[in-house]
Each structure stands twice: as structure tokens, then as C-alpha cells.
């Protein structure tokens, strides 16, 4: 137990999440910023504070709080006084929900919790103006941080999938596919005007399809919530989480929820950096160019990259953290699997039976 609360590691994934949180804070506050711009105010319309004794804030004060929250969003994205900015944004978004039940949305509540836990992690150790300023002062920030807040953040994010999936599992209408079927039928006029093939629209409008789809959606949500915890299933869980959130974003208005959950997938990487080694033959120009691209896309800092002194041999070599070595196309595939922007299609290319062909195809890029 002592080791759990003393363990330290890289919080690079949290830094990446923090950068995404900035715009999400502004997006979340956008309806209220428009009210500030229009000079309107929640106190002038129906509102119901969660705590009866909470006074209705005067319009100028509420406007100021909303603007402060948005400015905090800018600071969060830049990593400027990032911890304070995260706490400020959490207080503004969370406080605004307390002011009225009509302001409550699950996505805003998740955002508030993520902001608070992000602040606890120490979000400015990397990729931030705070870190840059500290380096300039000659006192660089320590890049490693305590890991228990990261575990708490993981718990909170996994709980959204698990609680949501469990509630659907307990609901006979969800299990039976009634809810998804009804939603599709409600959206049918829109789909009929869309370029979707008629056969597809007919298929997804069938009740028996939703008997299966409802159960699949629940299984998917539960798998993501559980699968993220194990290294063996994590890659698949992240892959399916992307599918899940894209589906949700297409089918429902969920404000920041999908973007937040997609960005938060970054926190599930193993909290260590540079524990995979890439060696490339300097005399192979294509390999050198690809490695330069990898450097730019390695946002999670997963690779140590060095040119190989050997005159011949494989153009590209990847040494995994367990010592496994991949060469050529296989190395390129495994590298791309670890990069946030390329992992999703590459995961498909890593399926059994497809991987050897993918490796041969990718090897051509190195020639």
C-alpha cells in the first residue's frame, strides 16, 4: 500500500489530456459565454439551485465567473499556471451546475471531475508554458509525478463506462433493444434525406437488429470500462472506445462528452517514457524521413530514437520494452501502433492473418 501511494512515473498522458481540456472548457462554457455576450443571465429565467440556500448570483458576478472560466480554459491549453487554471475551471463549471439543476449535464460533471483530478496530477510538468518558464529560470520541473492521482483519474473515467453500461444492462428496454430502435426510428426522416444506402437504413430500422444491437452496445461499453484496466486488453478497449464515441457523436448531442473521453484515452498509456528504442539506418533516406515523422507524432514520448551506425542491415529496428525486436515493416507497424494518430487503422492491420501482409506493405515504405 505504501508503494502504491509513493509510486512515481511519467504523466505525459495527463499533459496531453490537459491540452485538450482547454478547448473543451471553452466549448462547455460556450452557451453561457453567448449569454454574457447577449447580456442575459440565468437568474432571469427558471433555475433551481441544488442547494436551496444558494443565492442567485447577480448578473455581473455570474458573467465575470463565466469569463474567468473561459480564460482558465485558455491557460489550461497553454499550460500557463495550469494547476490553478484547472482548479478554477472546475470550480466555475461545477459551481455553475450547483447554481441550477438546468445547468447539469453528465458531460459537464465528468469534465469537472477530470479537471479537478488533472490538477491533482500536476498537469504542467510537460508540454506547457509553465515547464518552459521553469527551464528558462534554470529550475526545470520534474517530469515524473505521483501516480495515485492518475489511478484516481482512470477510476473516474472507467466508472462512466461501467456505470452507464450497468444501468443499461439492468434496464429491460435497453437490453431488448427498444431504446436504440426507437432512437433510430425517430431519426429515420433525417436518414432518409441523407446519402446513406436505403438497404442500410432499412436494416438498422428493423426491431430484430436492435435486439442484437442493444446487447452489443451494452457489451461494448462494459468491455471498454473493464478492458482498459488490463495491458492485455487495453489496446482493444481503446480501439473500441474510439468506435463507441464516434457512434455516440453521430447519433446524439452530447456536447463535450465524446471529445473529452477520446482525449482522456491518453491517460491509459503505461506511465513511463522512452522505454522503446528505435534504431534506423542513417544511410536509408526513407527510414530517416519516417523516423522524423515518428518524432513529431510521438506525443506520448514512447520512443528513444537513434541512428544505427551499421552500414547495412534493416533500415528500421524497434526494440520493445520486453526486449522483443521487430525489423522493417513489422517495426514500422508496431511503432505506428503506439502513436495516437495512427494506432486506430494500424490496429486493424495487426489482426491475425492481416499482419504479415501489412508488414510487407509497410516494408515498401522503407525501401
Amino acid at each position: 500500500m505504501t508503494a502504491f501511494f509513493d509510486a512515481r512515473g511519467s504523466l505525459r498522458g495527463v499533459a496531453l489530456l490537459r491540452i485538450a481540456l482547454g478547448p473543451l472548457v471553452i466549448y462547455s462554457l460556450w452557451p453561457y459565454l453567448r449569454e454574457v455576450d447577449a447580456g442575459t443571465w440565468y437568474g432571469a429565467r427558471y433555475h433551481a439551485p441544488y442547494i436551496a440556500s444558494l443565492p442567485t448570483l447577480p448578473a455581473p458576478l455570474w458573467h465575470a465567473l463565466i469569463v474567468v472560466g473561459a480564460l482558465a480554459g485558455v491557460c489550461i491549453a497553454l499550460g500557463l499556471y495550469a494547476r490553478t487554471a484547472c482548479v478554477t475551471a472546475a470550480l466555475v463549471i461545477g459551481g455553475n451546475m450547483l447554481l441550477s439543476e438546468t445547468h447539469y449535464h453528465h458531460n459537464r460533471a465528468v469534465l469537472t471531475i477530470v479537471l479537478a483530478l488533472c490538477a491533482l496530477c500536476g498537469p504542467a510538468r510537460e508540454l506547457s508554458l509553465d515547464a518552459w518558464r521553469a527551464r528558462r529560470r534554470g529550475h526545470p520541473l520534474e517530469t515524473s509525478g505521483l501516480l495515485w492521482p492518475l489511478w484516481l483519474l482512470r477510476f473516474e473515467l472507467a466508472s462512466t463506462y461501467l456505470a452507464s453500461g450497468t444501468s443499461k444492462l439492468l434496464d429491460p428496454d435497453w437490453r431488448g433493444g427498444v431504446v436504440t430502435w426507437d432512437r433510430v426510428l425517430q431519426g429515420r426522416p433525417l436518414m432518409d434525406r441523407s446519402p446513406l444506402p436505403t438497404a442500410f437504413i432499412e436494416l438498422i430500422s428493423r426491431e430484430d437488429v436492435h435486439w442484437f444491437f442493444g446487447k452489443s452496445a451494452i457489451a461494448l461499453e462494459l468491455f471498454v470500462g473493464l478492458g482498459l484496466w488490463s495491458r492485455r486488453t487495453r489496446l482493444a478497449a481503446v480501439w473500441f472506445a474510439v468506435v463507441f464515441h464516434v457512434m455516440v457523436e453521430i447519433s446524439a448531442r452530447v456536447q463535450v462528452f465524446s471529445y473529452l473521453c477520446l482525449a482522456a484515452l491518453a491517460i491509459w498509456v503505461v506511465p513511463s517514457v522512452g522505454d522503446r528504442r528505435i534504431a534506423y539506418r542513417a544511410s536509408a533516406p526513407r527510414a530517416a524521413r519516417l523516423v522524423a515523422l515518428v518524432r513529431r507524432l510521438d506525443w506520448l514520448g514512447r520512443f528513444q530514437i537513434a541512428p544505427s551506425s551499421a552500414a547495412d542491415g534493416p533500415a528500421l529496428t524497434l526494440t520493445e520494452r520486453d526486449g522483443t525486436v521487430f525489423e522493417g515493416g513489422a517495426a514500422l507497424r508496431h511503432i505506428a501502433l503506439r502513436l495516437p494518430l495512427t494506432f486506430w487503422p494500424l490496429a486493424l492491420m495487426s489482426l491475425p492473418g492481416i499482419a504479415p501482409r501489412a508488414d510487407r506493405l509497410l516494408a515498401r515504405l522503407l525501401r
Binding site: R8, G9, R45, H47, T160, A163, V179, Q186, G274
Partner: protein, 154 residues
Amino acid sequence: MGAASTRARSRWRRAAAAATFAAVVVTQLALIVFAYGTPKKELGWQMFSESSQWKADVVRVTRDGRRVSVSEPFDGYWWPDLTGPVGVAVPWTRHHADYGIDATLRDLQGALDWAASHTPRDRATLRYEADITYVQNRRGPFRRHLESATREVP
């Protein structure tokens, strides 16, 4: 660089960390369970719980017994302005029931009461009434009637 490391910290810091960790986990789990008993499922993460739809005829019942739809402005007030950017702002068109029918009915009751007590220029309305028609996950239609408290009209 590399794998996670550990570094000894003071006992009280570790205890504070353990207390924070336990408090967050226990509170979150409790909220998830507690949410089953609340209309809006706050912090219980029950997303897209229903596909239900609803619409309502919301009227002002005046002193002379007329029933006037709130879609008409009155005495400088207008229902969408009184209720703002929430689902109950335009009740006369069919809506998806965000957070389910129970949460919607609760919001609508709150909006009726709020309008009744925050429209001092209106000297004609005795109370607000809503006749709601809803379909809950394809079952129904069901009907409900809601009323605000009766206003003191001078």
C-alpha cells in the same frame, strides 16, 4: 525516464493521499448507486437512459377562466424567455426527453412554479397548467396534468 519509481514520503502525506483516494472512490460509488433513485441521475453516469418523447400544452388560466397558450407573449413575458435554453422552453413541439420522462416532468413542474412566482406584471393569470403527452420507450401515449401553485393576483 523509464519505469515508475518510488520515493519515500512523509507519513502524513501518504495518509492524506490514501484518505483522498478512498474518499473519491467511495463517494463516486455511492453516487452511482444513489443515482438510481433520482430523476436526473446526477453523477450516476446513466447516459441515454430513455428514448422517450414528449410535448405539452402549457396554458395560463386567467381570472376570467380563459386558458391562453404560453406560446403567446403576455405582459412583456414570453415562456421561452422565462424558461431559457432547457428542454421545457418550447413545450408545444415534440422533444426527446433528455434524462428521461421523470426528469422532464420535474423540470416542467419547476418551470410552471417559477413562472407563476416571477411574473409580477401579469395581473390576469391565476395559475399555469400543462397537459403533457409522452411516449416512454415506445410505450404509450401517456398523459399527465401538472399545475403551478395558484397565484395571489391583486
